[in-house]
């Protein structure tokens, strides 16, 4: 027994050395693999026991991350292979949707519309939900470590999403990063950020409100522009004397350009000041001043959306692609498994393919990857198919009016890269688009949670 525990401890330390350093366990343990005394620390022991779960009823698939990708995977894995035993792990206790959250900021839907229970999803689709934080995994023993104990897997699906990368806007100091995150959250990672943002904009009494658009492959390309519209619509409705300073780190509006440019001019000319090629180089948090390459701007309040990178779970467990600028996983671009391990799949916004990071993309992609995993278990092959990216952007409120875009991707053997395919863009905003955006979200929630 003692020997087993020791072996287990070593494996765990190898698997998640970096993750451990962030827990309460002393740094001694993380570096000294043979310190038996420290092993007695209660915190560590809880990590080394088997998590309490229902007895497996077949090959076990463990999914890390209950976002749009993980939820969809869990449902369709059970559908495509009823023999699978599926465990979905997420650190949050409830699901709050980021898509449509901009419309919620401007009171066009209520919080109930966005909020859903992991229990409902698991009960309705016959899998198990476990609320826990994944600390690391060992691919040799096929074991995932959480603070509630470890879980063994036959297949591991990683869908841990994104993290902010404050370093890319000049904030290198971790303490400053933390402060910036708490004071001016971006609203793309956790639901508390959204609640803070809503309070901020509803209580804003006037002055300069700073918003920005990050560069790189960030989550939901249209969202920062849409958010500027929603915040402006709210200020307009509440007659707040405010200027929204929208600093775009890109050379031009990245998506639905004509539509957004027209909205900024026609609807919000008195509110939105849009500045392109405005690379943020530093932020004085206490002084409320933002520096770009050539200018400085004072602000009264802000929502800072830094560039993003793949979840650290990918890098910390040694599976990041050495050539990925955002530290995405080193996977087969068509089959989604690690290049050196067909038992471990990576989907959603930690993927290495340059697909749009958004809910719909993750949802359509996960249905395909679920088929791939189900087929792998039967030693079969599935023909690759493109994810679908569908993205509504709210432009005006009362009633809600929105634009939309749908696109696919195709792989060019010549360039060795993915490109957009069969794009259909509706840049005219209307109430039909607004209604459609809500119908779209409702359909997605219905699919992931209820039917």
């Amino acid at each position: 027994m003692k020997e087993n525990t020791d072996l287990e401890r070593r494996r765990f330390l190898q698997a998640s050395g970096v993750a451990l350093a962030a827990t309460t366990v002393s740094a001694n343990v993380a570096t000294g693999a043979d310190n038996n005394e420290m092993c007695q620390a209660p915190a560590l022991n809880s990590l080394l026991r088997k998590a309490t779960l229902p007895r497996p009823r077949g090959a076990r698939v463990v999914i890390v991350g209950g976002g749009w990708s993980g939820l969809t995977m869990a449902k369709y894995l059970r559908l495509f292979n009823p023999g699978f035993d599926v465990i979905l792990i997420d650190r949050q206790s409830a699901f709050v949707s980021f898509p449509i959250s901009n419309s919620w900021l401007a009171d066009q839907v209520d919080l109930d519309f966005l909020s859903h229970s992991f229990f409902d999803a698991a009960n309705n689709h016959d899998y198990h939900f476990m609320q826990a934080t994944v600390l690391g995994f060992d691919r040799e023993t096929r074991r995932v470590y959480t603070e509630k104990g470890f879980v063994d897997y036959d297949y591991l699906v990683l869908a841990p999403g994104i993290e902010y990368d404050y370093g890319r806007i000049g904030i290198e100091d971790t303490e400053a990063q933390n402060l910036l995150f708490h004071r001016y959250p971006g609203g793309f990672v956790s639901s508390s950020e959204l609640l803070t943002i809503k309070r901020k904009i509803h209580r804003f009494s006037g002055g300069t409100f700073l918003l920005n658009v990050p560069n790189g492959d960030f989550r939901c390309t249209a969202a920062p522009y849409e958010r500027a519209c929603m915040v402006a619509a709210l200020f307009k409705r509440q007659r707040v004397r405010a200027k929204i300073l929208l600093l775009d780190m890109n050379a031009e509006i990245r998506i639905k350009k004509a539509g957004f440019a027209r909205a900024f001019a026609e609807l919000y000319g008195d509110y939105i000041e849009y500045l392109s090629s405005s690379e943020i180089t530093n932020i004085d948090i206490e002084g409320r001043r933002v520096e770009t390459e050539f200018d400085e701007y004072d602000f009264d309040d802000a929502i800072i959306y830094p560039p993003v990178r793949a979840s650290r779970l990918i890098e910390d467990n040694g599976i990041a692609s050495p050539i990925s600028p955002q530290k995405a996983a080193n996977t087969d671009p068509f089959r989604y498994h690690l290049l050196d391990d067909e038992r471990v799949y990576v989907t959603g916004d930690s993927r290495s393919q340059p697909f749009s990071k958004g809910g719909h993309t993750a949802h359509s992609e996960a249905q395909y990857v679920a088929e791939v995993v189900a087929a792998h278990a039967l030693d079969k092959e599935v023909r690759w198919r493109s994810p679908q990216t569908m993205c509504f952007s709210a432009v005006d409120i009362d009633p809600l009016r929105a634009m939309s875009i749908i696109t696919y991707y195709k792989f060019s053997d010549k360039t060795g890269e993915f490109a957009f395919d069969r794009t259909h863009l509706i840049e005219r905003w209307d109430t039909q688009g607004g209604q459609a955006s809500l119908a779209w979200a409702e359909g997605m929630y219905r699919d992931m949670f209820y039917s």
Partner: protein, 233 residues
């Protein structure tokens, strides 16, 4: 207007009864349309569909979307109403076909009429076995034995009885739907459901392969795959 609604609801009630009775296997299913379609309004309503189905309504050759261009109005209407009611499970589409989104029966009638007039994809996805191959011939024999009486010699279907037009449908889509029906994830008419106990998966693949090679009348096709629906320029 009210009277029209009542008439239609009445027909729907009959429909539900037919579905739930044992007669379903022999009774033809009929959706009665009491509306005169307005194609202009259909085009406007179709915009909501086109946000996913794209303006050409040609479907995807990966089987995730069907070709609906050129389909019979009664078939389209029956599927819309089945999805609206949940009789056909399609969680992501269901909210789009509710009255609050797509509108009432008149709008549905307009939009299906519009879709049925769209020219079809000239390069729909076809099965792997070419004309004259052994598998193609086997599919042809099975089609003549089991399918022809409802779906017709050329896979043209039958509007009056809501039998779908199969010619021009993506092989991948039909295969996917067949799998769903076989696994009981899609409810289909009892006479269809019975076929899944009669025919093997391989039989089905061969039948669908044959169907996917049935020619579509040239007058129903778009000139080429580069054609784009001019109503959405």
């Amino acid at each position: 207007m009210n009277r029209i609604h009542i008439t239609l609801c009445y027909s729907l009630c009959i429909l539900v009864l037919v579905f739930s009775s044992k007669l379903a296997a022999v009774e033809p299913i009929r959706v009665v349309l009491e509306f005169t379609p307005d194609l202009d309004n259909g085009r406007r309503s179709f915009e909501i569909c086109a946000r996913c189905h794209l303006p050409e309504a040609w479907g995807n050759d990966d089987g995730t979307y069907p070709q609906i261009a050129g389909q019979h109005v009664n078939v389209l209407m029956k599927q819309l109403l089945d999805i609206r009611s949940g009789q056909r499970a399609n969680p992501t589409m269901q909210p789009f076909v509710q009255e609050r989104t797509i509108g009432g029966y008149q709008n549905l009638s307009d939009v299906v009429a519009y879709i049925s007039t769209l020219p079809m994809n000239p390069m729909h996805n076809r099965g792997p076995w070419p004309v004259d191959s052994e598998e193609y011939e086997s599919g042809k024999r099975l089609y003549r034995q089991y399918c022809i009486s409802c779906h017709g010699q050329y896979g043209e279907g039958k509007n009056e009885l809501s039998y779908p037009r199969l010619q021009g449908q993506h092989y991948t889509y039909m295969k996917r739907q067949a799998r769903l029906a076989r696994d009981r994830l899609r409810r289909v008419a009892p006479v269809m459901a019975n076929l899944f106990t009669t025919l093997s998966e391989q039989d089905f693949d061969q039948v669908l392969n044959y169907v996917s090679h049935l020619p579509v009348p040239a007058s129903d096709l778009a000139p080429d795959t580069a054609w784009r629906n001019p109503d959405f320029k």
